[in-house]
Symmetry: C2
């Protein structure tokens, strides 16, 4: 019945159509920028709340730094400017006059934050300093895709300074673990975590840790990253402190960010031919309630009961909504809410009133016998909460199984290079660590997504040398 | 003991010094922009949460629109561009190239939102459409002051479209009432609400409602505004719908915004010679807990008890913090936290342990006999909550009494024009409604802050005509 493009053969078209049709996002008159509509923004708000709570548990405090940064700041760290200069939006005029020094719209805030750190950090007693900011950033991307890559996006950026390198690594790993858990435990999206290669690192970082996911079409997506910055980076902003021994030292810094890309990742992981499937913990509407009636008399009774159940669900912290639109058949409503990916549907008609029960339908199950269940009214809260948990687990398990089925072992580039484009997925292989060998993968439009801890391959996929580490190769967004 | 500038004679200096010293805000390397530090940002987060909840109760949904707007959009509504063009920051280069059409950094989002409304609104069934956005905006101000006026600030902007003018007015008034209640009931800041004169209206509005406050120095501050837009504004973006009768019509729109200026308003209303006083509902730390001990043995016992009490307070939803810094006297801690404006201080020493009690100190009371009270440990939660309520009420009453004491009645400009600069405050007077008469006030560096409902004056302050309405005149920020 779905009029959507085939999700297996035309995934890009499926994605573009479903996100607009369901009111998640819209294009805008500003090239490469999108409007996040309420149904999409509500997911981002739930994600923000979750991540913000976790950030505070890590002892990090929120602050806010200027959007516009003097252009010269970006140039202070050589690799940073090299990485970001092709992506900058530049304000040259303000208040009707040309500015003496142009301002860039922040592509990320390390530079201005380190400038401030240089004021705030004077003694070892000021460390660790752990700051986070929720903000918009702009990067001048040429090819854009809603949520995945856009000129402007929303994110949090954590920035911390520590006395020792070990402490900084620990912080970057704690952020990585927070992100992994957010994806897996909150968004039901299985991921792989690991370190990036030198060539894929953040501009200015010594180490970049990444969270990588595999989308419905088997292409990789970098979900978020966490960095230990080069020691020279804070130094170039004169961030220094006097240590307990009296010596002047430069702290070790980290930065880590989580963006609105996560909303795209949810959709590209869980959707099916019928439309979106929103994982329960982040679903703006967890239960859509459909009253069924023919006569006015039935309507009064059904609406009365369904409002009672709504109050009960709402009181138990379940995000429910009654679809009481007139002049629309229940079937048309089912179709619309399935497409919008609401995890649970509750139906209530005259028969259910008699039986003192309701029907619950599970968005994930396609088999009719498993899809629907009859539940006594006094069991609704318990059964709905139970069903939401089941749906979370089902979504995670399903995505995990898909990832595992597409996790290929390969010894040599000849084995996977030529087929990567037709047969997406992870290709685990051995690597000697040389940049020239990494470049071979790029010839096939793949990238090393991350280094793995597991070691299964003894020789490098590209040369005859021994492998130092297993890597995950994929075609990626 | 305070080293701060005299709050009564040097209020501007007092403000500048206290907000930096207590870690509320800092200057930045970007002209006219400020860094909101954690202690200040935590207040904004509490305000945001409060306002966001209220906005949702009004049936308004959050969304996000692009930061950068094609420059031509601003020009579509004549008065809007007239009002905003001197204040625009303009992006002329992106990705290393000059742009064909410059983009402006949003000073407000009506233009891009109406463009989107023209896509989303086609039928009367799409109305009302009620959208809110939490965002940063940039206005190229020449003279800046932390929180009060800066190039960039944070706000929420609500934008709604309705079938009738009455409905739009109702919405604008509902937003106004939400703002009034936020100031008075949440931030303990007494305000006056009313309509702006034609010359003080938002650029593009038909009506602007305002919330006005009187700061410690008797100068007025516009706290936030709510507008009914000119009917021509949505029309210039082709926002149209087909009504039930088949006719094509233009909806009536509102916009309303609440900004980080509110943080400044709190500080400028409640502070005293000792420093900040943060109203309890928005205080990041409501109770600062100071352990008092001399020996190590006492330290263990006192810390043990104070942590128990902390857990109890925390569990009851009270935002408490233990100041367990070593090598600092309790007196030095008292001084620091008084300056930071924490409403309640809890002291616990060996004697209190024996008596099974604690000492609570009230930040607002200066009289020693009223300032401190002994409270049994098992009464702490109740007494703290009670004290927080009392402090909220005291702050509100005190500010209200100050406002009333400075609320002067005046008949003619000669009575108040020449003295306004020396004797700040509200001057209530009669006005005929003519712009030429309003201009007379500006010669004395005052403005009509708003129209009042109450009518006490029969003739215009500037001419001999009858007064149409009482107005509130003040020197303002």
């Amino acid at each position: 019945m779905s009029t959507l493009p085939d999700i297996n053969t035309h995934f890009a078209e499926w994605y573009q159509e479903i996100i607009v049709k369901t009111g998640i996002i819209d294009s805008s008159p500003t090239r490469g920028c999108f409007v996040i509509r309420p149904y999409g923004y509500a997911m981002w708000e739930l994600i923000q709340r979750h991540v913000d709570d976790k950030i505070k548990v890590l002892g990090v405090e929120n602050a806010y730094f200027p959007l516009l940064i003097p252009k010269s700041f970006l140039s202070k760290e050589e690799k940073h400017i090299e990485g970001f200069s092709p992506e900058l939006a530049v304000v040259t005029h303000g208040g009707g006059k040309e500015l003496e020094e142009p301002l860039v719209v922040r592509p990320t805030s390390e530079t201005i934050i380190y400038y401030m750190f240089s004021r705030w950090i004077t003694s070892y007693r000021d460390l660790p300093l752990k700051i986070n900011q929720w903000a918009n950033v702009v990067r001048w991307e040429m090819r854009t895709r809603p949520f995945v890559r856009s000129l402007e996006f929303l994110w949090q950026e954590g920035h911390t300074a520590h006395r020792t390198h070990e402490e900084a690594v620990e912080m970057a790993l704690a952020a990585l673990e927070m992100y992994r858990s957010t994806y897996e435990d909150f968004l039901a999206v299985p991921v792989v975590t690991g370190m990036k290669t030198d060539s894929e690192r953040f501009a200015g970082a010594d180490r970049t840790y990444t969270v990588e996911g595999l989308m419905h079409d088997g292409k990789g997506l970098q979900m978020c990253t966490s960095h230990v910055l080069a020691h020279s980076f804070p130094a170039s902003f004169d961030v220094q402190y006097q240590d307990a021994d009296g010596a002047r030292k430069v702290p070790y810094c980290t930065s880590w960010g989580f963006t609105t890309r996560s909303v795209g990742a949810i959709i590209m992981t869980h959707g099916d031919q019928q439309g979106l499937i929103i994982p329960p913990k982040v679903a703006p509407i967890q239960v859509i309630m459909i009253p069924i009636y023919k006569t006015d008399e039935e309507r009064v009774l059904v609406m009365d009961r369904i409002k009672q159940i709504y109050s009960t669900l709402n009181g138990a912290g379940v995000r429910a909504k009654i679809d009481d639109r007139e002049g629309m058949t229940p079937g048309a409503k089912y179709f619309e809410w399935e497409e919008k990916g609401v995890p649970v549907r509750l139906e209530l008609g005259p028969k259910d009133l008699q039986n003192n029960s309701v029907v619950l339908a599970n968005r994930v199950e396609q088999e009719k016998t498993k899809k629907k269940s009859f539940v006594a009214v006094d069991q609704v809260v318990e059964q709905v909460q139970n069903l939401l948990q089941i749906i979370h687990a089902t979504l995670y398990d399903r995505a995990k199984a898909r990832m595992q089925a597409q996790w290929h072992q390969a010894d040599k580039i000849a084995d996977f290079g030529p087929i990567m484009d037709a047969k997406h997925g992870w290709y685990q292989t051995g690597w000697c660590g040389a940049a020239e060998c990494e470049a071979v993968v790029k010839q096939y439009k793949g990238t090393i997504r991350c280094l793995l801890e597991e070691k299964k391959h003894n020789s490098c996929f590209a040369c005859d040398a021994d492998s130092k580490v297993d890597v995950l190769v994929a075609k990626a967004y």
